[in-house]
Each structure stands twice: as structure tokens, then as C-alpha cells.
């Protein structure tokens, strides 16, 4: 009997939701266990980095890598897993485009550290700050250094496939697991390198069942200030900034069908180079005004333009970060 192909999953700068999404494929997880030898998955099993380092290059068939690259430990493991893996998947929004941890690219790293260790609500009377190395009786201890900006996985190593979502939908993960198992059995072929898998090629609007008419709005309003929200009409037409027009399909328009606006976790739709740019175009098209003053008044209804346009994509966007973050000295 030949040995089972090896599977690994790793989390860098992420929240852990992706791991839960993988476990959320329910009994399909048994297929993963039946078809793969799980060799490295820090959240689910005990393994040491040195075990991975000892493996032969390319010996892991499939690695799902979630999380962005925030510190030198993330970077080290990204490069290590790239060497050891045949298929490296940027799994989830953090690894694909930076996601919420990527919004830290709006602030210089010093400020991030200050916020974490020295705010009014932080209990840190002795002003303790992280130090890279500290000497203890048992020896010298190290913690990772952080980078000035967070980077998605493909800005650090080559990525074979992208799987967006915050987290990826479980039915999509299950479909990808099925596909890889079929490939292992020789019953299917892998898609071309660089493909986004486990998602659609169109936009969330395409999957959304809300009625769309001619979109023209005089005002943007936060959804919590709209009462009641029409359950059948396009949210953008109701003046609610909904990110559906720029966002990749694949989630079955979960949020709009539950009465909430799309916030864009599936990232840019196929062919979109910069998510925010596409969304700027979409929003600008629905504004019903021709005078600059009137347009500015309507735009005031989007209080945080960068957060609205790049909530899940800042680190993966064309500009990647605020100037203060990368210029930090």
C-alpha cells in the first residue's frame, strides 16, 4: 500500500476562523483523514517546526495557509511550507488579500505597538514592552519581530491557488477537498496555477436575489439607520453601501439574503485588479448628482472611505498600505 498524501494547514496573522470553517465541513473531515496524512496543523495537533524542517522538499501534497505575513515567524513558515509543499493554497481572505489584520497597514508599526501596550484602558503599570530576546535562567528566549506592514501570502512566496472568504464557506471547502481527492485518485485535473478556487467567477450581485431597478440614490446611509430595510429591494438602491458589485461570488449572497450589506470578504471579482477601484466606480455610478457640492454631501454618508473600499483587501490592493505605515522610520 502506498502512503497517503500529506496535508498541512498553518495559521499566520489570522483569527482562527478559517480552521473552524475547515472543521465545519462536518463528516467530510473524515474524508480528509481517510485520504490524507495530516502532518502539520498547529491548531489541531501537536507538531514542531523542526519536524517540518526535517521533511523532504515537496513532500507535502497540499498546504492550506491562512493568515497574512505580519512578523518574521510568519515569513519563515511561509517560506518553509512553500519549499515543502507541492500545492500551496492562500486560504481565506487574510492570506489572499490581508483581510482585517491588513487594516493595520493604515498605521505605523510603532503606533500599533503603542495601542497594544499603552492606552488608557491597558493595564500595564510598569510600561512593559515586547523585547525580541530576553535572558532567563533556562536560556535566551525569542519572540518574532513584526514587519512595518502586513503582506498577503503571494507577496512573500509563490502561491498556487487562492481560496477567498472570511472564512471560506464550508460547502466550498468541501468541494475543494473533493476535487483534490479526485486529483489524487487520478479522476480529475487541477485547475491552472493562480486560479481562485472554491468561489465563483462573477459578483455577489449575480447571486443576490434582491430586485434591482435603475440605481440612483441621493444619500448613503448606514444600514443601522435605515428602518425598516426593504427585504426585497437591492440594498445599494436603498442607499446602503453594499459591496456586492465588486465582490467575488461563491457565498450565495449570504449577507444580503440575511438582510445585511455585503462587506466584501470574498475579495475582488474575476478580472478586477484593485477591489476598491471597482467599488469606487460602482458607488460613483449610483450617485444622483452633478454638482460637486451635492456629490460631496452624498459622499459624507460613507464616513470611512478606506474601510469601506478595502476592508478585506487593503494589503493586497495596488497601494497596499497607508503612506505613514510604509514610510515609518
Amino acid at each position: 500500500m502506498t502512503a497517503k498524501p500529506k496535508f498541512a494547514m498553518y495559521w499566520a496573522a489570522s483569527c482562527g476562523g478559517c480552521e473552524i470553517a475547515v472543521l465545519n465541513i462536518h463528516e467530510k473531515i473524515l474524508d480528509v483523514d481517510a485520504n490524507f496524512d495530516v502532518v502539520f496543523w498547529p491548531v489541531a495537533m501537536d507538531a514542531k517546526y523542526k519536524d517540518v524542517e526535517a521533511m523532504e522538499d515537496g513532500s507535502i501534497l497540499l498546504t492550506l495557509f491562512n493568515g497574512g505575513i505580519r512578523n518574521d515567524e510568519n515569513e519563515h513558515i511561509a517560506k518553509l511550507l512553500r519549499r515543502k509543499s507541492q500545492i500551496l493554497v492562500a486560504f481565506g481572505s487574510c492570506a489572499s488579500g490581508g483581510c482585517i489584520p491588513g487594516l493595520a497597514n493604515l498605521s505605523p508599526a510603532d503606533e500599533i505597538v503603542q495601542t497594544a501596550f499603552n492606552t488608557l484602558t491597558t493595564d500595564n503599570p510598569n510600561g512593559v514592552y515586547p523585547r525580541v530576546s530576553v535572558n532567563m535562567p533556562e536560556g535566551e528566549l525569542h519572540i518574532p519581530k513584526i514587519f512595518p506592514v502586513l503582506r498577503p501570502l503571494d507577496q512573500v512566496v509563490d502561491v498556487d491557488y487562492y481560496m477567498p472568504g472570511c472564512p471560506p464557506e464550508s460547502h466550498q471547502i468541501a468541494a475543494v477537498v473533493d476535487l483534490v481527492i479526485k486529483v489524487v485518485m487520478g479522476e480529475a485535473q487541477l485547475p491552472p496555477k493562480g486560479t481562485t478556487i472554491g468561489a465563483g467567477d462573477s459578483t455577489v450581485c449575480d447571486e443576490c436575489t434582491r430586485a434591482r431597478n435603475v440605481k440612483f440614490i441621493k444619500e448613503f446611509t448606514r444600514i443601522q439607520d435605515v428602518a425598516p430595510v426593504d427585504p426585497n429591494l437591492c440594498l445599494l438602491e436603498q442607499g446602503i453601501p453594499c459591496n456586492g458589485p465588486a465582490t467575488r461570488s461563491g457565498c450565495n449572497a449570504r449577507c444580503p439574503s440575511a438582510g445585511a450589506q455585503c462587506i466584501g470578504c470574498y475579495g475582488p471579482a474575476e478580472g478586477v485588479m484593485d477591489y476598491g477601484a471597482r467599488l469606487i466606480t460602482a458607488f460613483a455610478s449610483v450617485i444622483d448628482a452633478k454638482e460637486p457640492e451635492e456629490i460631496e454631501r452624498i459622499l459624507d454618508g460613507i464616513p470611512d472611505p478606506v474601510g469601506q473600499m478595502y476592508r478585506f483587501n487593503l494589503a493586497g490592493s495596488l497601494l497596499r498600505a497607508n503612506k505613514d505605515a510604509w514610510k515609518a522610520r
Partner: protein, 170 residues
């Protein structure tokens, strides 16, 4: 101190008005700053904000967008669309730390060669005052990009290598 900084500016022109204004400025031998690299679009409404972001991320110091006067668009009202995109895009750029003055929207008809020339020269001077943007790259006068300020107690914890360039594996 001598200022040797020459701004790089990308200018988007519409085929029907502002490109012809630029053409006219040329045929009339009007002098204006040579820093603008013009890209002709069929209409200012064709301007995808991606173009502007791409220009900045590729090293432009300023972006000038030009089109027909309001009400005079060859395609009826696409320049209004350009105006709305421009205003929203500018808010996003400011949120990312790019000075609002680095983008400019100019309306110029085919007869306004002089206006095109003077607006261009003004914009170049404005950008010269703002200085280089050099997006994502290390400033030349900042050394290697590593932090040497010992008094900053976080300095050893943060890697101050502020370049976007991907490491090329050996």
C-alpha cells in the same frame, strides 16, 4: 539648497476635448512643463480609478485627469461620472496618506490649449512643492531603511524595512 526633483505626472485626457486642447497647445507652440505623460482615453468616463492607483503605485508623483466641460461630454454625461469617481477616489487616497493635491481634475475644451498649458504648469509646481511620492520604495536619503534610533524602545521589536519589493530567492 537646489531642488533637483522633477515630478513625474500621468495625465489622462479625453479624445474629444482635452486631448485636442493639448494638441492645440502643441501646434500653437505654447510652453508648458514637460513633466506630464499623457494617456488618451476616449472619454474621462473611461477613467477606471485603477489607472490612478496603478500610476501612483508605479511611481507617479501626481495624476491629472482632464475631460470636457460639464454638459459638453461627447457621450452625453460620462464626465459627470468621472467627477463623482474623482471625488470618491480622492477621499480614499487621502485616507491612504496621499495628499489631496496629488490628483487634479481639469475641464478643458478643444479650444482651450492655453488653459491646458497653464493648468499643467501650475499642477507641476504644486507637485514639486509636495515633493516625491515614491510609493512603496525606500527614500534615497533614508539609508538602508533600517531603524537606527536607539532611543525608541520598540525599535528592536519592529523590522524597519519599508520597501514593498519582494525578495528574489537566490
Amino acid at each position: 539648497m537646489t531642488n533637483t526633483f522633477e515630478p513625474t505626472i500621468i495625465g489622462f485626457t479625453c479624445n474629444w476635448c482635452s486631448y485636442r486642447a493639448a494638441d492645440m497647445a502643441g501646434t500653437a507652440r505654447m510652453k508648458y512643463a514637460p513633466n506630464v505623460k499623457l494617456i488618451r482615453l476616449m472619454c474621462s468616463g473611461r477613467l477606471d480609478p485603477t489607472f490612478v492607483l496603478r500610476a501612483f503605485s508605479s511611481g507617479a508623483d501626481g495624476v491629472m485627469i482632464t475631460g470636457c466641460h460639464p454638459g459638453e461630454c461627447h457621450y452625453i454625461e460620462q464626465n459627470y461620472k468621472a467627477l463623482r469617481r474623482f471625488l470618491l477616489l480622492r477621499r480614499v487616497l487621502v485616507g491612504l496618506g496621499i495628499e489631496a493635491g496629488r490628483v487634479k481634475l481639469v475641464w478643458a475644451s478643444a479650444a482651450e490649449g492655453a488653459k491646458f498649458a497653464s493648468e499643467t504648469t501650475t499642477f507641476v509646481e504644486e507637485i514639486r512643492k509636495l515633493g516625491p511620492l515614491n510609493w512603496g520604495r525606500k527614500d534615497k536619503d533614508e539609508g538602508g531603511g533600517m531603524n537606527d534610533e536607539a532611543e525608541d524602545k520598540n525599535s528592536s521589536f519592529i523590522i524597519h524595512n519599508s520597501s514593498f519589493e519582494k525578495e528574489v530567492p537566490a
